[in-house]
C-alpha cells in the first residue's frame, strides 16, 4: 500500500453518486430483462425500472456537478474548454474556421475511467430518458409509436450496456489510482457491478411490494431472482477479500474498512439470503430483505470510498508487523486467507502445509529393497 499519497477527499456526493448510479443501472437492466423475457403480466414491474432509471441518472449528474471544485465547469469533462472557446471566438457556428475547431472539441480519454464514465453517463441518460418518456407518456401517439418501434429496442440494448458500464466503471475509477486499498485490488469494479444488480432488483421488489404493482405471481417471480444475484455478489466479495491479500488486515482495522467488509457481507448479502431461505413465507421477509440489500449496498459504497482516507490518516505505522519468518499476524489477514486457499504455495520449511496430520510416523513404512533388520529379540534372563 502506498501511504505517501494525498487524499482526494471524495466524500458524500461521490458515495451518493456511486450508490444511486448503481441502483439506476441495475433497475434499468432488470426492467429490460423483465420486459423482454417476462410474461405480459410482468410488464408493470418492468415499468418501475424504466420510471426509476432516468430520474436517478439526473440525480447522479447533480451529485457529480456538486462535487466539483468548480461546478460551472462541468462541461469541461465532455469538451476541451480551450478549443471550445477558440471555436467560439473564431465565429462558431457562422464561420468555417469555427466549425473546423468545433469538431475537435469533444474529449474522450478511454483509458481514464472518469473521462469514459462521463461520456457513458450521458449515453445512459439519453437511453433511459427515451425509455422513461415512452413509459410515462405511453398514451401519447408519438411515444406509443416509439415504444413499439425497433429503434427503441436498439436504444434499450445500448442503454443496458451503458448501464453495465456505469455500474462497473465506478469501481475501476477507484482502482485506477494510487490510493491505498483502491489500487491494491482489481475486484472493486465487479463488486460494485454485483451490488448494482442486487440493489436495483431490491428497489424494484420493494416498490412493487409497497405499491402492489403487477400480479402477486409476477412479484413472486421477481423475488426469486434475488438469491441468485446475492450468491454471485457473495462470490465476488470473497474474491475481493482474497485479492487484498496482506492489505486486508490494515483495511479491517479502520472503521470504514469494518463497514465495508462486515457491512457488505452481513447486512447486504448474508441477512437477505437468510431471510429468503428461512422466512420466505412471512409477510415481512420481502420488504425487510430488500431493505437490507439496499442498506448493504450503501455501506459498501460508503466503506469503499472512505477507507483510504482513514488509512492515510493512520499511516504506515498502523499496518501490523509480519513476523520475520513470514507468519501472518492474525486470522483476519490476507496471507492467512491465501494460506487457507493455497496452503502449499505459502508454506515455508517447518510449517505444516496442505495436510498437516498426514505425515511420517510409526504407521508409515516405505517400500524398500533393503533387508529389514529384525528388532533384536529380548533375551530372557537365565
Amino acid at each position: 500500500m502506498n501511504y505517501f499519497v494525498a487524499d482526494p477527499e471524495w466524500g458524500g456526493w461521490i458515495i451518493a453518486y456511486f450508490y444511486v448510479g448503481g441502483v439506476a443501472a441495475g433497475s434499468y437492466f432488470l426492467a429490460l430483462l423483465i420486459d423482454w423475457f417476462g410474461k405480459p403480466e410482468d410488464r408493470p414491474t418492468a415499468g418501475i425500472g424504466y420510471r426509476l432509471a432516468f430520474p436517478l441518472v439526473l440525480l447522479c449528474a447533480a451529485f457529480l456537478i456538486a462535487d466539483l471544485g468548480r461546478p460551472e465547469r462541468f462541461w469541461h469533462m465532455m469538451l476541451k474548454s480551450e478549443v471550445a472557446k477558440a471555436a467560439w471566438n473564431a465565429g462558431f457556428p457562422w464561420t468555417s474556421e469555427g466549425w473546423a475547431l468545433a469538431v475537435q472539441t469533444p474529449i474522450l480519454k478511454w483509458w481514464s475511467p472518469m473521462s469514459a464514465g462521463s461520456v457513458m453517463l450521458g449515453l445512459f441518460g439519453a437511453c433511459s430518458a427515451v425509455s422513461f418518456a415512452s413509459e410515462v407518456f405511453g398514451g401519447v401517439r408519438g411515444f406509443r409509436w416509439l415504444r413499439n418501434h425497433w429503434l427503441h429496442r436498439v436504444l434499450q440494448v445500448v442503454g443496458c450496456f451503458a448501464g453495465f458500464f456505469l455500474a462497473a466503471y465506478t469501481g475501476t475509477l477507484l482502482t485506477a489510482t494510487n490510493q491505498p486499498m483502491w489500487s491494491d485490488t482489481n475486484w472493486l469494479s465487479p463488486l460494485f457491478l454485483a451490488s448494482a444488480a442486487s440493489t436495483g432488483l431490491a428497489t424494484i421488489v420493494l416498490i412493487a411490494w409497497w405499491r402492489k404493482v403487477g400480479s402477486p405471481d409476477a412479484r413472486h417471480r421477481l423475488e426469486r431472482v434475488e438469491p441468485v444475484v446475492l450468491g454471485l455478489e457473495l462470490a465476488v466479495f470473497a474474491a475481493f477479500a482474497v485479492s487484498l491479500g496482506p492489505d486486508l488486515r490494515p483495511v479491517w482495522e479502520t472503521w470504514s474498512g469494518k463497514i465495508l467488509l462486515a457491512g457488505t457481507l452481513a447486512v447486504g448479502v448474508a441477512a437477505p439470503l437468510l431471510f429468503y431461505v428461512a422466512a420466505r413465507s412471512r409477510p415481512w421477509a420481502v420488504p425487510v430483505g430488500a431493505s437490507c440489500v439496499l442498506l448493504g449496498g450503501f455501506l459498501l459504497r460508503y466503506g469503499a470510498v472512505t477507507t483510504p482516507g482513514e488509512l492515510l490518516a493512520r499511516g504506515p505505522a498502523a499496518a501490523p508487523a509480519v513476523a520475520a519468518d513470514g507468519t501472518p499476524p492474525g486470522w483476519l489477514d490476507g496471507t492467512a486467507l491465501q494460506a487457507w486457499f493455497a496452503p502449499e504455495q505459502t508454506r515455508k520449511p517447518g510449517q505444516p502445509g496442505a495436510d498437516p496430520d498426514n505425515r511420517s510416523g510409526p504407521t508409515v513404512t516405505p517400500r524398500s529393497k533393503l533387508p529389514r533388520v529384525a528388532p533384536p529379540e529380548e533375551t530372557s534372563a537365565p
Binding site: 477527499e9 471524495w10 423475457f37 465547469r73 476541451k80 474548454s81 483509458w111 485506477a176 494510487n178 482489481n186
Partner: protein
C-alpha cells in the same frame, strides 16, 4: 520541442534552509498556509516535527523540505536527512493520464503543467498521483502543483527554486546532463565509503523516469517516497475483464432464474395432457 529539462536534487548537499520554498512562494505569489486552530485560521505554528513546519505539500506549498531525524537506540549516533521535495514531472505521468478535462498537459520541456482555466476540480489527479503532490486550492477550487516555472523556462530562466538554492542541492538543466552529473556523484560517494547512496527516478524503472530525480542516502520509504509506484491505467484492463465476466454471469444467472418459472408453469399441464 525544446530539450527535456529537469531537476536533480542531491540530498547530501541540502542544508534545510528552505530558500527554495521561499523562492517558490515569491515567484508564484503563493500565500503562507493558514492553519485551523480551534476553528480559527491562523498562520503556521511550529509543528514539533523537526524543522518541518509546513508538514506536507499543499495547494500553496509546491516545494516541501523534509527533515528526517535518525537516531540509534542509545542516541549516540545521529543522522539528519534533508530533502527538498517537489513534483516529479514523471515521464509516465499518472495525473496527466487520468485528467478527464485535458487540463494537465506536457510542455515542450517534457514537464507536466496544469492549465488553470481548464481544471474543474474533480480531484482525479490527486487520487492518481503516487507522491501526494497535487492539492486543491482553497480559494480557486482547482488542482494546484509545481509548474516547473513554465513561464520562466519559456524565457530561458531557471526555475526560482533552483536559482535560489545556495548549495546546488537542487540542480536544473537538460535531463541527460543531470544524469551524468548524478552518476558521477554516486560513484564519488561510493568511493568515499558511502555505499548507501543511490539514485531515485534517474533510470526508467519508476514511472518511466522522473524529470525531478533524487540522490538519496537511505531507502525511498524513509524519505516518504514509494519504491514502486505504477501508472493507474495498468489496472484498468484486469479490472474491466473481471467486470465483464461478472456482468455476463449476472445476466445469465438472472435470465435463467427468471425464465425458469415463466417457461415451466404453462408447460407443465400441457405435457401431462400430452402423456395422457
Amino acid at each position: 520541442m525544446a530539450e527535456a529539462k529537469g531537476f536533480y536534487t542531491d540530498t547530501t548537499l541540502c542544508i534545510g534552509c528552505k530558500a527554495c520554498q521561499v523562492a517558490c512562494h515569491q515567484w508564484n505569489d503563493l500565500p503562507a498556509q493558514g492553519m485551523e486552530i480551534k476553528g480559527r485560521v491562523e498562520l503556521p505554528v511550529l509543528s514539533g516535527d523537526s524543522y518541518d513546519n509546513t508538514r506536507s505539500f499543499s495547494d500553496v506549498n509546491w516545494r516541501h523540505v523534509k527533515f528526517i531525524e535518525q537516531f540509534s537506540a542509545d542516541r549516540t549516533q545521529a543522522a539528519w536527512l534533508m530533502m527538498s521535495d517537489v513534483c516529479k514531472h514523471c515521464v509516465h505521468a499518472p495525473c496527466l493520464e487520468v485528467c478527464p478535462t485535458g487540463a494537465i498537459i506536457r510542455t515542450e520541456f517534457d514537464t507536466v503543467y496544469i492549465q488553470e482555466p481548464a481544471c474543474n476540480g474533480c480531484r482525479d489527479c490527486i487520487s492518481a498521483c503516487p507522491f501526494g503532490v497535487i492539492h486543491v486550492s482553497e480559494t480557486k477550487h482547482i488542482a494546484q502543483k509545481c509548474t516547473f516555472c513554465y513561464d520562466r523556462l519559456q524565457e530561458g530562466l531557471p526555475p526560482a527554486c533552483a536559482q535560489a538554492c545556495p548549495t546546488k542541492s537542487i540542480q536544473f538543466g537538460p535531463i541527460k546532463d543531470l544524469k551524468k552529473t548524478a552518476a558521477a556523484r554516486v560513484e564519488q560517494l561510493h568511493g568515499l565509503g558511502q555505499k548507501q547512496a543511490r539514485l531515485y527516478g534517474a533510470d526508467d524503472k519508476i514511472l518511466g523516469g522522473l524529470n525531478s530525480f533524487y540522490l538519496l542516502m537511505d531507502k525511498p520509504e524513509v524519505y516518504g517516497l514509494p519504491s514502486a509506484p505504477e501508472v493507474p491505467s495498468k489496472r484498468v484492463i484486469p479490472s474491466s475483464v473481471w467486470s465483464i465476466l461478472t456482468s455476463i454471469l449476472i445476466a445469465l444467472g438472472v435470465l435463467f432464474r427468471f425464465r425458469e418459472r415463466t417457461n415451466h408453469e404453462p408447460k407443465r399441464p400441457a405435457s401431462k395432457g400430452a402423456k395422457a
